[in-house]
Symmetry: C2
Subunit: 431 residues, 2 copies
């Protein structure tokens, strides 16, 4: 194996193996970076031009942060990595035999190694009609649409004369008690309670109902004992209503139904679940019930050691942890491990079995409130919130985002007036 070191693409002999990475999220980007300086040509394909820091996406939906705060152009992140190039394109399918990837438009891309890190999308468990009624939260466009709907409801409530319809406008239902649903519910309630009241003359925004609905018996199910109850208490203290064990049975333009009850609302936001992107279905490998590709212990595809699948697209069920959740730390560790195994093969060394190291979980509940477990430690309240702030700032992909997000948060905390409360897009004020 050649001495690792910076290699400029112009100087790359064409015999270098091509590593094609599909997806510039946590898994794909980490894999690309792990291949810096290696004697390979890295081609990263994504249909977006930016890497997105998804754990903070709900803060764009709640008008706290701007898109540029939590996203960086993939090209920018990889600009100094001479052996990497970036292609903005959507992958349609993988031809395992020909070792090439078909794009929606343009010529196919050939590979010697393939790392599939194409992620997941909102899933409505077969109720596809709900997608329009209850938008999900996976992309910046999703977040901007959610922000638009959230801010517009107050405008409509302010203009509404009928008190009953006004109450419908001021009722928000968030479906799904995972971290996204919990954090979204907390931040929307805080916005209505702290930021908006002085701006409206006819409505009391602090009386807006925010209802968090979870079909299972508890929220933040994989946070472990105690934290789930603490989270419910924390949310209820700021006024969020939490409904447990009640799956949504119907959604229409004016209400949701759960547990036989009909709750009138004009705004339903979906954080109930994701499934893998359909790309995995064409690989011929077994899929789990979320559509994720079952992978080998080394993260490769059975029968195709040159193909790795990582992150939300992968179902990794080996080892004591059982099936791993679709969260950023799993994707990051798998991206690094896939790159390491690929380099091991190139160097004639054996591959390693992937082992996930769970560093903990945390979720904010509102201003100064959070729940967290790190290792065996569980903590709540202000200390957990500070830990959350610090860790999320550190995880932001580059220095500039850290600085700006820090100041946005400081501003929002001191003034209760986050800056991004803009209604953009569609001109039709009624839809």
């Amino acid at each position: 194996m050649a001495e690792p070191g910076p290699v400029h693409s112009a100087a790359l002999p064409t015999v270098l193996p091509t590593v094609l990475i599909v997806g510039g999220g946590f898994g794909g980007l980490r894999a690309a970076r792990a291949l810096a300086g290696a004697p390979v040509r890295v081609v990263l394909v994504d249909r977006q031009n930016h890497h997105l820091f998804q754990p903070l996406l709900y803060q764009v939906a709640s008008a706290t942060l701007s898109p540029a705060d939590i996203a960086a152009p993939i090209r920018h992140v990889l600009r100094t990595q001479g052996n990497a190039e970036v292609v903005l394109a959507e992958v349609a399918s993988v031809d395992l035999e020909a070792r090439q990837v078909q794009l929606r438009e343009g010529a196919p891309l050939a590979y010697d190694f393939l790392i599939l890190a194409a992620g997941s999308r909102s899933s409505y468990f077969g109720r596809d009609a709900w997608a329009e009624l209850a938008p999900g939260l996976k992309t910046l466009d999703d977040a901007l649409e959610m922000r638009r709907r959230f801010l517009l409801t107050f405008e409509r409530a302010e203009q509404e004369e009928d008190p009953e319809i006004r109450r419908e406008w001021l009722t928000f239902v968030i479906v799904g008690g995972g971290p996204t649903g919990v954090e979204l519910a907390g931040t929307l309630k805080e916005m209505a309670r702290l930021s908006l009241p002085r701006e409206f003359r006819r409505i009391r925004t602090d009386r807006a109902r925010v209802i968090l609905v979870e079909a299972g018996p508890c929220i933040l199910a994989n946070f472990g004992s105690g934290l789930s109850e603490k989270a419910v208490q924390g949310l209820e203290r700021i006024g969020v209503e939490v409904r447990l064990g009640q799956p949504i049975t119907a959604i229409d333009a004016r209400a949701v139904e759960l547990g036989g009850e009909r709750i009138p609302t004009r705004t339903v936001l979906w954080a109930a679940g994701v499934s893998a992107v359909p790309l995995g279905a064409g690989l011929g490998a077994p899929l789990d019930r979320l559509g994720r590709v079952v992978v080998e212990p080394d993260l490769s595809l059975a029968g195709h050691p040159e193909v790795f699948v990582v992150g939300d697209l992968a179902a990794f069920a080996h080892g004591p942890e059982g099936p791993l959740p679709g969260v950023a730390p799993v994707a990051i560790q798998q991206g690094a491990a896939a790159a390491a195994n690929l380099l091991a093969t190139l160097a004639g060394r054996p591959r390693r079995v992937f082992r996930y190291r769970d560093k903990g979980s945390m979720a904010t509940l509102g201003r100064g409130k959070a729940v967290a477990h790190i290792g065996r430690l569980s903590f709540t309240g202000y200390p957990a919130w500070l830990a959350w702030l610090f860790i999320h700032l550190m995880l932001l992909v580059d220095f500039r985002s850290r600085v700006f997000v820090f100041f946005e948060w400081l501003w929002a905390y001191l003034t209760t007036q986050p800056r991004a409360r803009l209604i953009l897009g569609k001109r039709d004020l009624r839809s």
Copy 2:
């Protein structure tokens, strides 16, 4: 007249006259603020929820600033003004006899006084088919669409094998040599020259052609002698091509035509002119050639002393300055003057004739370069650029924007890497 002072809307007797303001831009917002504490009920209607600092809109188009940096929710700006309320709605027409305003949706709004400050929109001088091919720059949505097109062209050029088509992608034509066109050309060229080169592997973004086309004999025509030539020199020094005296005669998806020459390009941006919104046409008053409503010396509508027209919607041709241009300082001063005349009438005092005080004009040409005239002083280069920075920061409507824009500019200046380079919206990568 009652003692001016803070009045809370809940305490307002219904006999207070209603001042309806259409438009939350510079003119309308200034008028609303000038009525703070006065014994009137102020209702401000806008179809957007935000006041927009239009002079910096080109920096959103060029991916330097985020929308939240140059826009503030109108409700937020007026939140402490107890006699003001804000309605998010689009005005369809004015019924001068009934003294009410029809909305596109919802019940009409009655008024005792009306201040029309609805502004202008991009004008294609009858070539409406050009609107799709050459987007204008009036709203945040426009700016985001321009940013999307600008950033996508480099992605397409990077993927293009045909060198001729690649050159088409890397050619940008900006139509219109006013401040918007000049600043847009300068900032796009700087982005291509300083920010993007390291991110692409196949194309030389610094060789992208940016062509500024002006139909008249000089750019920045109303900046006065000398500065126009200086501006051309400044732009040419950073590589912008300036074409003077050549109106565009045709635009299609792959080229523009001017002066008998066909310039292949895939990106045409429109900064060539505006006309007043059509609202003025239904008032029965004479309009000027830009569709602006000719107003009386006190800014009122002839025969309707209860109606004022200000800003881009007004044609004010009294006084030595002749017809006033559609710029922010004119709108701001007229908004304040209309409010003052309205209060004079309420108090039984005579109205004043509006007089515009021209404080100067300035435009940036790129990093560290600008042209400015303030009073009789003309200056260029670094001093003009610093003056531009300082004055625009001071004019930003609230403190928070100032702070964040200052840091965004500082960051962009020190690193040449502005943060907002995101491609959002439409998923079709080819359109």
